[in-house]
């Protein structure tokens, strides 16, 4: 299968290791991967801030470049939700309404694609560490992704998964983190406390943006817990 891999802007700019791991995993499974040069961002920042015209300006070329894609895989639950769930809404009653629906139907979040489309859970990875998993809210609640990453982690050799006592938002929320930093920080601290209670060495997530927030707090507060993307864990030998 030819997989069109959509690498979100912050993964491209800040977490290339996560994107590279996705490419390597998909290729190891025998698929051809392409990453369209024209795609930088899904348009979620203006969309979430209410600037839908500006969001469409960014999203339109994304849709165009995904027009012929057999399968679109997105390395983030948040950007995945944007394309899969919110594009049809954003483009409702426009010339791109039909295309948005078609692309939505062919779009997958990375872990969902591996488990539910490819039926692959054991990727041969080894990661001998105690970890906890953070569900990004968009992946969890907009796309219903919860079991998929856990099924993948269950096959990683040496990995011990300890769940947190509560499922809570990390407090990132895109521009929310800058518009209401005090609330965002408090939410992040609650998240870090829940993760610390598990005594895990690593917090793993499908969403690098959540991890950026969590790691930002952990580093500032000098906490030893580390963060790592799910793709990197699954690509670890």
């Amino acid at each position: 299968m030819t997989v069109t891999l959509f690498i979100p802007c912050f993964v491209d700019a800040l977490y290339p290791r996560a994107g590279i791991s996705m490419v390597e995993i998909l290729e190891r499974l025998g698929h051809t991967v392409i990453c369209p040069e024209a795609i930088a961002c899904c348009g979620q920042p203006p969309f979430n801030s209410g600037y839908w015209d500006e969001a469409r300006t960014i999203a339109r070329p994304v849709l165009e470049s995904l027009k012929a894609a057999e399968a679109v895989v997105i390395g983030s639950g948040s950007c995945g939700a944007m394309v899969k769930k919110f594009y049809p809404e954003l483009f409702a009653n426009t010339d791109h309404a039909e295309l948005a629906k078609q692309v939505s139907a062919r779009t997958w979040e990375f872990s969902d694609f591996l488990v539910n489309k490819l039926g692959a859970t054991d990727l041969g990875a080894t990661f001998p560490h105690k970890v906890t998993f953070h569900d990004g809210c968009h992946g969890l609640r907009e796309l219903g992704i919860q079991k998929q990453p856990r099924a993948l982690l269950a096959s990683v050799r040496g990995l011990e998964l300890v769940e947190m006592g509560e499922v809570s938002c990390c407090g990132f929320g895109g521009t929310f983190a800058a518009k209401f930093p005090m609330i965002s920080t408090a939410m992040g601290e609650v998240k870090c406390a829940a993760a610390a209670e598990t005594n895990a060495e690593y917090i793993v997530s499908s969403d690098s943006s959540c991890l950026m927030h969590i790691q930002g707090l952990l580093s500032r507060q000098g906490k030893p817990t580390k963060t790592i993307s799910l793709a990197e864990v699954l690509n670890h030998k």
Partner: protein
């Protein structure tokens, strides 16, 4: 100070208050445990939510018919029904009833609609004595405060704080046990029940089919409020209508489960009229005031109409990480939490209250918790869209326009990343200081180091090599 600056100032204060954070988190985690246990008593909680949402949808989409049916039934048994378009009208209707009755003291049971129209203030200004009989409301009234939470008005206070309050205001509080504190409040209130001229209640549901008002409570104070004074006044938002009596079979346990993690609330009473000939008790007169107060404007909004499904259970507040961290008072509204953030812009003005819709990470836990399936967090998005469309923030819009140009042109995008990498050492020098353009982030959080080689650099190199 504008509403938004007030919100930010108070949010800043509360989020730093670690005692508050821990206290509320512990209380609401206890609620979650109880709620989840009670959800198990439903054959299927998800089907129950679906059924409730459909019933409310029917009720709200035929509100005109249901309200007329309700009124006919109520009037047939001698109840006087009043229609109030605004809060001011409702206040005047209620004040006029009190004047007609030459009332001096009013005893009240819990009603968020009365908070919404600031009834107590208005009545006290006219010289009436108003006594809250719900224990939580009684406590916040003694503190001259608004309710912290729509279901648990005084949940922010410890027993010790309540004891001190009672000692100071009532001169009595032998200990801080709930039993002792309740006995103190009861002694004060019993006197008021006997002397009150008018009893005032809110309502949880109004049944169109039978012309009944359903009131749910845990303390029995509402029953006394309705039973002892000669005149009873009930204020109810028009969205509280349910089509059929049988609907209560679902809504009463659902409200109790979602609201407080209870199988059923302790007292559920249906009122169908004032004392009828031959009956031994009940008020001689019953006035029902139906309140619009811009609910019909929400009804006209086809996108967000389902916000009128709300049964004021508080489930969305309880699970909301924003509410848990900023607390109820910070919102500065009658209805706080996610549902407050959704409806306040409709009830009190979008531009003045849009910040509540912005103050969300859009995590969606509220929508998941809502027993009547209001699409809460998506309504926050719609409020943001409507606010930005009608009154865009110039700089923010410009920033997104520039971002669009950069994101749409690979050469610009590469350049932007390169610049980010190059200026990183400069940023390190001002990080977290007043000179830092990213201070909103860096004051409390580190930024990740920018890698020299981005994903796209790697990809391009690889393509060339092949």
């Amino acid at each position: 100070m504008s509403f938004v600056s007030q919100f930010k100032a108070q949010a800043g204060e509360k989020t730093r208050d670690l005692r508050h954070r821990q206290f509320i988190r512990t209380a609401l985690r206890g609620y979650e445990t109880a709620r989840d246990k009670r959800k198990g008593a439903f054959q299927s909680w998800e089907s129950a939510r679906q059924a409730a949402a459909e019933t409310k949808w029917e009720a709200i989409n035929h509100l005109d018919e249901h309200l007329v049916a309700l009124t006919r039934q109520l009037e047939a048994r001698g109840t006087k029904v009043h229609w109030a378009s605004t809060g001011a009208q409702a206040r005047e209707i209620i004040a006029q009833i009190l004047r007609d009755k030459q009332a001096r003291c009013i005893i009240k049971s819990k009603a968020m609609t009365s908070e919404e129209i600031h009834l107590n203030d208005a009545l006290e200004k006219e010289g009436f004595t108003v006594v809250e009989s719900d224990l939580g409301e009684f406590i916040v009234q003694l503190r001259h405060e608004t309710p912290y939470h729509i279901v648990f008005p005084s949940m922010h206070l410890t027993r010790g704080e309540i004891r001190e309050l009672f000692q100071r205001e009532l001169g009595d509080a032998p200990s801080d046990t709930p039993e002792d504190l309740t006995m103190v409040a009861r002694r004060v209130m019993r006197q008021k029940y006997i002397t009150a001229d008018v009893g005032f209640t809110g309502a949880n549901f109004a049944i169109a089919e039978t012309g009944m008002i359903s009131i749910t409570e845990n303390e029995g104070n509402s029953r006394l409020t309705a039973a002892l004074p000669k005149t009873m006044v009930t204020l109810i938002g028009i969205e509280k209508v349910l089509p059929r009596f049988a609907d209560l079979a679902l809504f009463l346990p659902m409200l109790a489960t979602a609201g407080a993690g209870q199988p059923m609330t302790c007292y559920n009473t249906m009122y169908s009229g004032p004392r009828q000939p031959g009956e031994a008790d009940g008020p001689e007169e019953w006035h029902v005031v139906l309140l619009d107060n811009r609910r019909t404007e929400l009804l006209a909004d086809t996108e967000q109409r389902d916000a009128l499904h709300c049964i004021r259970c508080g489930a969305c507040l309880n699970v909301c990480p924003i509410f848990r961290n900023v607390g109820g008072h910070t919102y500065g509204t009658t209805y706080s939490g996610p549902v407050g953030a959704v409806i306040t812009p409709h009830l009190r003005g979008l531009q003045e209250w849009k910040h509540l819709s912005n103050a969300s990470s859009l995590c969606g836990v509220c929508t998941e918790a809502c027993p009547v399936k209001i699409d809460l967090h998506h309504h926050l998005l719609q409020n943001r869209r409507n606010a930005s469309a009608s009154q865009p923030a110039f700089l923010e819009k410009l920033a997104y326009k520039i971002f669009g140009i950069v994101a749409n042109e690979p050469a610009f995008w590469s350049l932007a990343k390169k610049l980010g990498w190059l200026t990183q050492p400069l940023h390190d020098a001002v990080k977290g200081s007043a000179l830092d353009p990213a201070r909103a982030w860096t004051k409390t959080r580190d930024l990740p180091p920018m890698p020299r080689e981005t994903f796209k650099d790697w990809w391009r190199k690889r393509m060339k090599a092949e």
